[in-house]
Point group: C2
Chain length 327, copies 2
């Protein structure tokens, strides 16, 4: 935790969401949580770490990352045509605190209060190299799982719910299932669903049997995959896509939908087994559509929190951290 909180302009903060493959920077109104201006970059942590590695003699790691961040803040200033006061701090979450990030922070442990979260936060004081306060947020670990970024998303998502308790599904490349009880995150699990979908569809023997020129459609093929995942061994069901293609010419778009249903259905079979009382679903609009359809096939009710168009759940989560730091 931060020991000495500096005094600064409380009306705004900068929200930096630095993930594995993307970089997002937003100017946030701290009272409402609304995004005033936003820019994004393809220089995710992975790509950025590579460029630091090849230039590592020229500057220290943290400085190298802060220099990039400084330039992005300038770009944000240009795009909104106004100078941002130096007292406006930047809050950084996601993979920026990982071993390939600006500075590796140890994971914080469960349970995590969603109202007064105690995360490990690294405070970088303003200096010549970077002119404002920066706060780097750690991830969370259980005894056998880890996350970086989703803990902040959860804070933001839950902040928009009257009752925070329930079972959260954050659909993504590495989906997360999170249990919240008495306003505390108490357990979570990560699933390699999205990554395996991409890998199998593009690199396995099934690549010849699935059409990846467009996104999966949550129709019959998708639903059949979700259902089969409840009965069939996954390693066999995967090969059946190839067999159906050879024997019955099932159609490569349909096979792609079935593969998507099979993997999402496998992930969600855990939810079926655990019968949570209240399921809260989140994800980008594309993924959320598949997960919603799969949950329906499986007879599981869920809610989808209403987040306004000018709100972002990472920024909403960072707002809680910002309020903790400034109060």
């Amino acid at each position: 935790m931060v020991n000495s909180a500096p005094i600064f302009h409380k009306r705004h903060f900068l929200s930096c969401d630095w993930g594995t493959s993307s970089f997002r920077l937003r100017l946030i109104a701290s009272a409402s949580g609304k995004t005033i201006h936003a820019i994004s970059e393809t220089k995710g942590i992975k790509k950025f770490y590579k460029s630091w590695s090849s230039n590592r003699d020229s500057s220290k790691r943290l400085d190298y990352y802060l220099a990039f961040l400084g330039k992005q803040i300038e770009a944000l200033e240009q795009s909104c045509s106004s100078e941002l006061d130096r007292s406006i701090p930047v809050i950084i979450s996601g993979m920026a605190s990982s071993s390939i990030g600006m500075k590796e922070l140890p994971y914080s442990s469960l349970p995590l209060s969603l109202v007064h979260p105690e995360l490990n936060i690294h405070h970088v004081q303003p200096s010549e190299r970077f002119s404002r306060d920066a706060y780097l947020v750690s991830g969370i670990c259980s005894s056998n799982d880890v996350m970086r970024g989703e803990e902040t998303e959860l804070l933001g998502l839950a902040s928009r719910l009257a009752s925070k308790n329930g079972f959260y599904i954050l659909a993504g490349t590495h989906s997360k299932h999170l249990r919240v009880k008495d306003n505390h995150l108490t357990a979570f699990k990560t699933y390699m669903t999205g990554e395996l979908f991409d890998l199998i569809a593009s690199k396995s023997i099934l690549a010849n049997s699935v059409d990846m020129r467009s996104d999966p459609v949550p129709g019959h093929g998708f639903k059949a995959g979700v259902k089969d995942a409840q009965q069939e061994n996954l390693l066999h069901a995967l090969f059946s896509i190839r067999a159906q293609d050879l024997l019955h010419n099932t159609g490569k778009p349909r096979n792609r939908d079935y593969l998507s249903g099979l993997l999402i259905g496998t992930e969600l079979s855990e939810v079926v087994a655990s019968e949570p009382a209240r399921v809260i679903l989140w994800g980008n609009s594309r993924l959320q559509r598949y997960y919603a359809d799969a949950l329906e096939v499986l007879g599981i009710d869920f809610i989808h929190p209403a987040i306004k168009g000018d709100e972002d759940i990472t920024a909403l989560g960072q707002r809680i951290i910002f309020n903790q730091i400034t109060n």
Copy 2:
């Protein structure tokens, strides 16, 4: 089936096992089934199809494949320093009958007698282009699964067992589980186990967490993977490898063993559920070792057929087909 059987030298036949990534040619003594001489090539069907595709104007597909086969027979003659009588036929099984093979043959259907197998066989008469009889063997299909090559392996393997009935596990890149009842193959399932192991270990986020410089070891890590596969959701258990690596520095060789155990254990969970009375295990010595260890962890008894060092199960299976053709 073949309508007119030509008369030829019955003491020997040539056994060609043309798989996706390998080509094997053997001279077999038809009475004993023993291999007299063998050569192998890395030009599997996949690679060979590519080279035909880039030369397709120069010759017809079947001729192109037969020309290669002819050269390999010459190479076999050179390596055993004796001319092979033109009356000695060649029997070809594996992917050579697939859509990328020398000629695509429709799959034969279940059930398949292991004593008097009725497979689709394409007979190529001797001609100027290829001087001996060639017999191309089809694969087998069920309503939702396919194989090419393993049906011939099964014939050979079962020919060395006093009782052929039981549940066969043919461990491989795409493992097969086969049910044999009243001396007939009645059902089978394919599992993508081996291919997924290679894909996940080399191309996924886990590539950084597993050491692939040597083969998995069937020790503690492997056994833990087999056990966890019976309890855990596979998509989550996979990610736990990354988490354990980050949190507990479990060791990359151990993580590789665990990954192997997890995938083989997932495949074999189907065997646990179906409780077959008699399990017959086959596979190359490396794979067989893992499967044997996994079956032991799961408390499933199995037998391992005794095949002599100078015998090959594909050649033993082709011998049954050869005897059918010549009798």
